[in-house]
Amino acid sequence: MRKKRYFSRGVMFLLCGIFAVAFLLPTVLTITNSFMAESEIKSNYGMIFNTTSGGYVSETVNLKFIPDRVSFSQYITGLIKSPEYLIKLWNSIILVVPIVIFQVAVASVAAYSFTRWRGKIRSGIFFFYVILMLMPYQVTLVPNYLVSQWLGLLNTRWSIILPGIFAPFSVFLLTKFMRRIPYSLIESAKMDGAGEWQIFTRICLPQCRSALYSIAILVFIDYWNMVEQPLILLQDTDRQPLSVFLSSINAGEIGLAFAMATVYMIPSLLLFLHGEEYLVEGIANSGSVKG
């Protein structure tokens, strides 16, 4: 019996290992390939991304993990020689940071409202938020475009930031966290004569500190990698975030794309490694649509 259990656990470990390698492959490849000089990239992938300029091109594709010679040339090109990429990176930051901060702020107040008061109208509105959250982007795209047009926001950063701030995702998630705060805590604060705003800032917010963090990470990762919204609402390429620009880097600059993708990955990677427990908690708590 015990032998059998060890055996099955071994098989599972092996399977997980295979899965894990497959899952990690693109991340690892991106990072290691970013340290290859352009000539090496060309010789490895020339067959695929028909580069026009000369140089040695290998007959077959070489998917290589370890560069022949570690080179920082791609980083030097991307970060020092041409300011273009840094500008796009800055664009990403000024789009995403306000969205994360204000979405969480607006959502925490709304979530407090959904937590403190219950009733038919309230649960109706909450259900509506859930539906809205679940709508695919293709449905909200047209309304989004129209409203940006009317408010004269089209082609400005606000056309991305404002709808981002009011996206219902964090409201939903935060409400689920707040409902777990013991009611007695709020009740006793009320007995002591605290107003709603005080209950909110002194009791509710400190109680969901980890929830706020986990939601911020999820929102950040989501918007950091956005492509569709800027393509439609922010067609001025000078203002587009690096996520859009990375996807349009032309075939001759594959090495550069890997290097910039690695740079772009750093903030999410740091957030992820630093807050993985929170992230997992955040995901785990989004687990059921009903509060």
Binding site: R9, M12, F13, L15, C16, F19, F23, L24, P26, T27, L29, I48, F49, V61, L63, V106, A107, V109, A110, S113, W117, G119, I121, Y129, V130, L134, P136, Y137, Q138, V139, V142, P143, Y145, L146, V147, I165, F166, P168, V171, E196, I221, E228, S243, S247, I249, A257, A261, T262, M265, S268, F272, E276, V280, I283, A284, N285, S286, G287, S288, V289
Partner: protein
């Protein structure tokens, strides 16, 4: 009588205060989502933004005769029908494997979640290196004596996208299932162990029952994410991909460029209706399955 009045007044005050807290969010949602969606519904019922004649269902009827729309709907449906069940089942398998106290459990969890962070652009590059006609996968096929496959320009294209979808979403779904599994009362499983229940019995009669709310949620989530895969498909294959990859999103994008608001609005309304119906059905199903386990 006075007490009742007092109570009613208190409730109204409560309601007003709750509105104050909800106001910023509700205002924003109203301006950026609800009102414009109302306009979209209106646009779907008129014949043109200029003339504004009410034509009722004409736009919808036209849409159902539009071959691009029909192809796109069929492809999107086919993809979702393949992708969603796989995303649910494989995620349960992963969660069960990690639950079985294997070594390096938390490391595996990190690895499975890592696709969340990879920028779309590099995902697309890697996928090209792997599945290009001269790519790595075909090199492998050649080495084993098989023929090369034109992955992006054949019926295999959907499989490539399916792999991408699963790679991206399994980790997230797995975490949801792990959380669901952790909520199953331990005593129940211990009793089953004592009574000598088989693993299969434990899974189907106990675990799956408790997981049913999670299964339904992951289904909804995967459905939405299966719509989101357009981002990668678009970057991999452009505006007009191989026929089986032409999704509703391509249709919307291409219609958007021609600024045909009527067609676009009708398509958006249909998509929204279908989503609402699906979500409502899943909610009903959750009520049905979950009623005897939720205390």
């Amino acid at each position: 009588m006075d007490a009742l009045k007092q109570k009613r007044r208190e409730r109204r005050a409560d309601f007003l205060r709750s509105l104050c807290f909800l106001a910023p969010s509700l205002l924003g949602v109203g301006v950026f989502f609800i009102l414009p969606f109302g306009v979209v519904v209106y646009y779907s019922l008129i014949d043109g933004v200029g003339s504004q004649n009410f034509v009722f269902l004409d736009n919808f009827i036209k849409l159902f005769h539009n071959s691009a729309f029909l192809t796109a709907s069929k492809n999107t449906l086919t993809f979702s029908l393949m992708a969603v069940p796989l995303a649910v089942v494989l995620a349960i398998v992963l969660a069960l494997m990690l639950e079985a106290r294997i070594p390096l459990k938390s490391q595996f969890r990190t690895f499975f979640l890592s696709p969340m962070m990879v920028p779309v652009a590099s995902v697309v590059l890697i996928w090209q290196v792997l599945f290009n006609y001269n790519g790595t996968v075909n090199e492998f096929l050649l080495a084993f004596g098989a023929d090369k496959i034109d992955w992006f320009q054949s019926d295999y294209a959907m499989i490539v996208v399916l792999l991408l979808f699963l790679w991206k979403n399994l980790g997230y779904n797995m975490i949801l299932f792990m959380a669901g599994l952790a909520n199953i009362p331990r005593e129940l499983l211990e009793v089953a162990d004592v009574e000598g229940a088989s693993e299969a019995y434990k899974f189907f009669s106990i675990k799956l029952r408790y997981l049913s709310p999670t299964v339904l949620f992951v289904t909804i989530l995967s459905l939405i994410n299966s719509f989101k895969v357009f981002r990668e498909v678009y970057l991999l294959t452009g505006d007009y991909p191989y026929e089986t990859l032409y999704m509703l999103q391509h249709f919307m994008n291409n219609t958007f460029r021609s600024l045909d608001y009527q067609k676009l609005s009708a398509a958006a309304v249909i998509m929204a209706l279908v989503m609402v119906v699906i979500i409502a059905l899943l909610f009903l199903a959750e009520d049905w399955f979950g009623k005897d386990v939720e205390g």
